[in-house]
Amino acid sequence: MIELLHFEFIRNALFAAVLVSIACGIVGAFIVIKKIVFISGGITHAAFGGIGLGYLLNINPVLTALPFSLLSALAIGILSKKTKISEDSAIGILWSVGMALGILFISLSPGYAPDLFSYLFGSILTVPISDIMIMLILDIIIIITVLFLFKELHALSFDEEFSMIVGIPTHTLYLILLCLVALSIVVLIRVVGIILVIALLTIPATIAKQFTTKLKKMIALSILIAVILTITGLYLSYIFNLPSGATIVLVLAIVFMISTITRKFLIQKI
C-alpha cells in the first residue's frame, strides 16, 4: 500500500480525504443535532446550478458552485423564516430549480460536458491540486467560524426560542450555520459528488453521536471516522476498480449498520 503514495494523484486523494473529513465532521455534527439534513440536501442539489454555470462560462465549476450554494442557503433560510412558505416547500423549490438551471446551463454550453459525471457521483482520484487548495481554504473558514461561535451554535441547535429571548441574534446565526453547510458541500462535491454529499454530511456524525454525549467529542470522533472510512473506501475502490464516491458511501453505510446493531446489542445486555 505504501508504494501507492509515490503516485501524485494518490497523495492528492489522501489530502482530499482528510480535508473532506474535517468539513463533514464539523458541519455534519451540527446538521445532525439541529436536524437540518433535508435542508442540506436541498442546498447540495441547488449547487448543481453552479456546476452548470461553470461549464457555460468555461471556468472551474467548483468556483461557480460556491456562490450558488451560498445563495441557495441564504434563500432557504430567509424564505422559511421571513415568509409564510414552509421550510419544507422552500427546500423543494430550490432543490429542483437549482437542478433545472444546471441542466439548462450545461445544454447551452458548447460541446460535450467532460467529467460531468465526476461532479454528480464524485471522483476522489482526479481531484486537481487547485481544487485541493480551494477545499483547504474553505476548511479553514469553517474551523475558524465554528471555534468562534461554538457555544452560540450549540445553544441555537438545542433551543432556538430560548436563545432568541436571551438576546443572541438567532436569525443571523441560523443563516451562518446554513452558509457553513454550503461551504462544506463545495468541499465535498469533488470527492463524492452532488448525489452522495449528504451521506458524508450525516453518516459519520450519526455514528459518532452513538458513542458520545459531548458535542466537542462528537465532532472529533466524526472527523476521525470520516478519515478512516473515506480512505478505506478509496483503497477498496482502487483495489477492485470501483467508482470511488459510491464505494466510500457504501463503506460508511456498512459501518453505520454495524455500529447501530452493536450499540443496541450492548445496551440490551446492560
Binding site: I33, K35, L149, H154, S157, F158, E161, I168, K214, L215
Partner: protein
C-alpha cells in the same frame, strides 16, 4: 407612581390563522407582584406569555415591559417554556443548558467567565440540581429536567420571571420547596406564573388573572375565586398549600 409598572398590556388582540385566541386583554403587572395567570386549556395563557416575550406580535394593541417594547428589554426576562421538545440523545450537559441563560450577557463569541459559572452553579443549587451539573440532560427524569430549565431561567438574573406550568412534572414534595423559592425571589423580582390547574395556585401568590380568550378577572386572589368558577362554568375549590411546620403533616410522618 407609573414607574413601578413591570408589564402593561393594552387592548391586546391575537389570533392564530384567523382563530381568535385573545380578545382585548388589558392587564397591568406591577413590580414585585406575584401573579398567576389561570384559565382552561386553549384559553390563551401561553400566548400571553409569548406576547410579553415578544415571540409573538399582537394583531392589535400594545405591550410594554418597563415602558419599552418587549424585544428591546427581553434580556431582563427569565422564561420557563411549557414544553421543551428535544431529542434525548442531544449532546448537552446540565451545566451547558444553564449557561445558555448567560449567553446574552456578553458579545458574541466571547467565553463564559468565572462569574457566569458561579451564577449557574448558584441557580442549580437553588433548584437542588448542583450535584448533577456534569450529567447529560437526556439522562435525567422529567421532573429533574424541569428543575434544570427553572435554573436556566434564573441564571439570566431576570427582573421578571415568566413561568409556564412550572410544576407540571415535579413531585409535590418539591413543589413546596419551589413555591418557597419563588417567594424568596419575589422580594426582588416580579413573577408571572401560568397554570391551568387552579389547585396549585399557592398561598404564596397574591394576585390572579383569569383568562379564557378575554380577561375575566384581574386582581387580588380572594375576591377572584367566584369569577374563576364563572369562567370554568363549575364550582371551584382553592386548595392551599400546607406550610412545612403544619402539625397535621408532622403527625403523618
Amino acid at each position: 407612581m407609573d414607574n413601578n409598572i413591570a408589564i402593561e398590556l393594552k387592548k391586546v388582540y391575537f389570533s392564530y390563522a384567523e382563530v381568535p385566541v385573545l380578545e382585548g386583554i388589558d392587564m397591568i403587572v406591577k413590580e414585585k407582584d406575584f401573579i398567576s395567570i389561570i384559565g382552561p386549556n386553549g384559553g390563551g395563557k401561553t400566548t400571553i406569555l409569548k406576547i410579553i416575550l415578544g415571540l409573538l406580535e399582537p394583531d392589535k394593541g400594545t405591550v410594554c415591559i418597563f415602558g419599552n417594547p418587549p424585544k428591546k428589554v427581553r434580556k431582563c426576562l427569565g422564561y420557563l417554556p411549557q414544553h421543551i421538545l428535544f431529542d434525548f440523545d442531544f449532546p448537552i450537559t446540565v451545566q451547558e443548558v444553564v449557561l445558555m441563560g448567560r449567553l446574552g450577557k456578553r458579545s458574541i463569541g466571547s467565553r463564559y467567565t468565572k462569574n457566569d459559572m458561579n451564577i449557574c452553579l448558584h441557580a442549580l443549587e437553588k433548584v437542588g440540581m448542583h450535584t448533577h451539573k456534569d450529567k447529560d440532560l437526556g439522562k435525567l427524569s422529567g421532573g429533574q429536567r424541569q428543575r434544570v430549565f427553572i435554573a436556566r431561567a434564573l441564571s439570566t438574573e431576570p427582573r421578571i420571571l415568566l413561568l409556564d406550568e412550572p410544576v407540571s412534572s415535579v413531585d409535590t414534595q418539591w413543589q413546596q420547596t419551589f413555591y418557597e423559592l419563588l417567594n424568596e425571589l419575589n422580594k426582588e423580582i416580579t413573577i408571572v406564573l401560568v397554570t391551568h390547574d387552579i389547585s396549585v395556585v399557592s398561598t404564596y401568590i397574591d394576585k390572579i388573572a383569569c383568562v379564557n380568550k378575554k380577561l375575566y378577572y384581574h386582581g387580588s386572589k380572594k375576591e377572584g375565586m367566584h369569577k374563576v368558577a364563572e369562567m370554568y362554568e363549575c364550582p371551584v375549590q382553592l386548595i392551599t398549600h400546607t406550610s412545612p411546620d403544619d402539625p397535621a403533616k408532622g403527625s403523618n410522618k
